[in-house]
């Protein structure tokens, strides 16, 4: 039986990547995410599973290496932090437009621009609403613990391959840098089979596989977009994941993901000690977003505080969910500042209960 080890979130992602049977990791170091590539370099995955670990010359190169590896049907991933993920957007759009699976990890830091190296959640729009050009979506998973950093690697791959779509783990500097105990799944072998769409060399018994995001015929391009949208509809119907904590009797609700959701759990305990019945809904998939699950609670709620380390991005989805039937306010800190549990309780009282 595997035993618990103590690890940083970034290290857990790296170990989980090897164990998930990743064929190739391509990345470029950036704080607060560099432990992923450092761990992989030290762990010598080529000796353990034959996995390739390559430090690319830039983030732009790394994402295009992913594009190539994914086209060959391989399990490929990259990780970076906000400015690096911005550099990758063109490649991500091409990968989505070519219907290829891959795993992206964004350990978010404060922005805009080079911003700061401290944790933030201000890349929510970029991750969930496109990021690159064109009508596409990423499947976005938001871990709230080091254990989930590890677990979401294989989950991300499963979803990416099931739907032939890039999946992203949207974490932040706090979860990347913090240590908790974590238990890993056993080593999975790297897959020897290629998916039937992969470009691995044409054999005489089949048509050639073509991977491209280009089609200059508008009618065909529209049909392709309709196919993509049908796929996204299926993902929205089948893949919503969330966690509800103390929601049964809740009159007020925190909606928060990742680090913010951990802090909100403490705020919830503090508020409940004062007799305020508050629950927490934690979206685990940010896309698809749990609109229905929040909407279904709107009858019992007097107000919702959306808590994010940003100026207020996810709050737009929370508002869409309740369709104006419940008061929704935002509380967050920016620029790498993490809100404290008592700050959140104070804002619940001021903005929701008293406001």
């Amino acid at each position: 039986m595997e035993e618990y080890v103590l690890m940083k979130g970034n290290e857990a992602i790296a170990e989980a990547a090897i164990r998930a049977g990743t064929d190739g990791y391509f990345g470029y170091p950036i704080t607060p995410q560099s432990e992923v590539i450092e761990y992989l370099a030290a762990a010598k995955p080529h000796e353990r599973t034959g996995m390739v670990m390559l430090q690319a010359e830039s983030e732009v190169a790394a994402i295009n290496m992913l594009y190539g590896g994914a086209g060959a049907g391989k399990k490929v991933m990259t990780s970076s932090s906000s400015p690096g993920i911005s550099l990758m957007q063109e490649g991500i759009s091409y990968i989505a437009g070519s219907e290829l699976p891959c795993l992206l990890v964004n350990v978010v830091r404060g922005g805009p621009g080079l911003g700061t190296i401290q944790p933030s959640q201000s890349d929510y729009f970029q991750a969930t609403k496109g990021g690159g050009h064109g009508d596409y979506n990423l499947i976005v998973l938001a871990p709230a613990s080091v254990q989930e950093m590890a677990d979401f690697v294989s989950l991300g791959y499963d979803l990416a391959f099931k739907y032939r779509n890039p999946a992203m783990i949207l974490s932040d500097g706090a979860i990347g840098q913090m240590m908790e105990k974590v238990k890993f799944k056993p080593q999975q072998p790297r897959s020897k089979k290629s998916p039937d769409w992969a470009t691995t060399g044409k054999t005489p018994d089949r048509e050639r596989n073509i991977i491209t995001s280009l089609d200059l015929d508008p009618a065909r391009q529209e049909r392709f977009n309709e196919k993509l949208q049908a796929k996204y509809k299926e993902i929205r119907e089948k893949e919503v994941r969330y966690e509800k904590i103390q929601c049964d009797d809740a009159e007020y609700l925190f909606v928060a993901y990742g680090t913010s959701s951990r802090i909100c759990q403490k705020s919830m305990q503090m508020a409940r000690e004062e007799g305020i019945k508050v629950g927490l809904l934690r979206p685990i998939t940010l896309w698809p977003f749990p609109y229905n699950e929040i909407r279904m609670m709107s009858g019992q709620l007097k107000g919702i505080l959306s808590v994010e380390m940003s100026a207020g991005q996810m709050i737009e989805d929370v508002k869409l969910a309740v369709e104006g039937k419940v008061k929704v306010k935002h509380y967050g800190r920016m620029g790498g500042i993490i809100p404290t549990p008592d700050e959140i309780v104070k804002n619940l009282k001021q903005k929701i209960i008293g406001g």
């Binding site: 908790e180 951990r262 909100c264 759990q265 919830m268």
Partner: protein, 184 residues
Amino acid sequence: MTEEIIIAGFGGQGVLSMGKILCYSGVMEGQEVSWMPSYGPEMRGGTANVTVILSDERISSPIINSYDTAIILNQQSMDKFEPAVKPGGLLVYDGNGITRHPERKDINIYRIDAAEEATKMESTKTFNMIVLGGYLKVKKLFKLESVIKGLKKSLPERYHHLIPVNEKAIHRGMEIIKEVATVN
């Protein structure tokens, strides 16, 4: 049981590794643990602190603003974290370089002159283990064998020959920690 701890001092004092050893000791006894560093561009000589939470239950926020215990190893950290100790909580500090000693009347205060002792032990790197020993004397969180196991897990194997000297430092810390003021 939940113990919420801040360890704060200069970079290079072994603040982060002390926190890691505490966490691993907790893991050895089946506890939930979290280790949240203040990370940043600081290098040796800059400030460093880490929040450690040990609990029998699932840990909610790894980031908190009041603590059961503050282990304070320089003056800046004293100014910042003395007010953040919960009433009835514990403050452990090294007197070296402290110009304003703790003044709170509602907390338990212990002093450990670990920097001075580490020099006497001819290994200044044992400083953090002396402090850890002192703290574990006051708060009996784990069996000593769990701490030694935790130490082994925290150190890369190439440093395992240093475990006896670290163990000695933990014992020394237990001997030299002094009560300054207690409320309970």
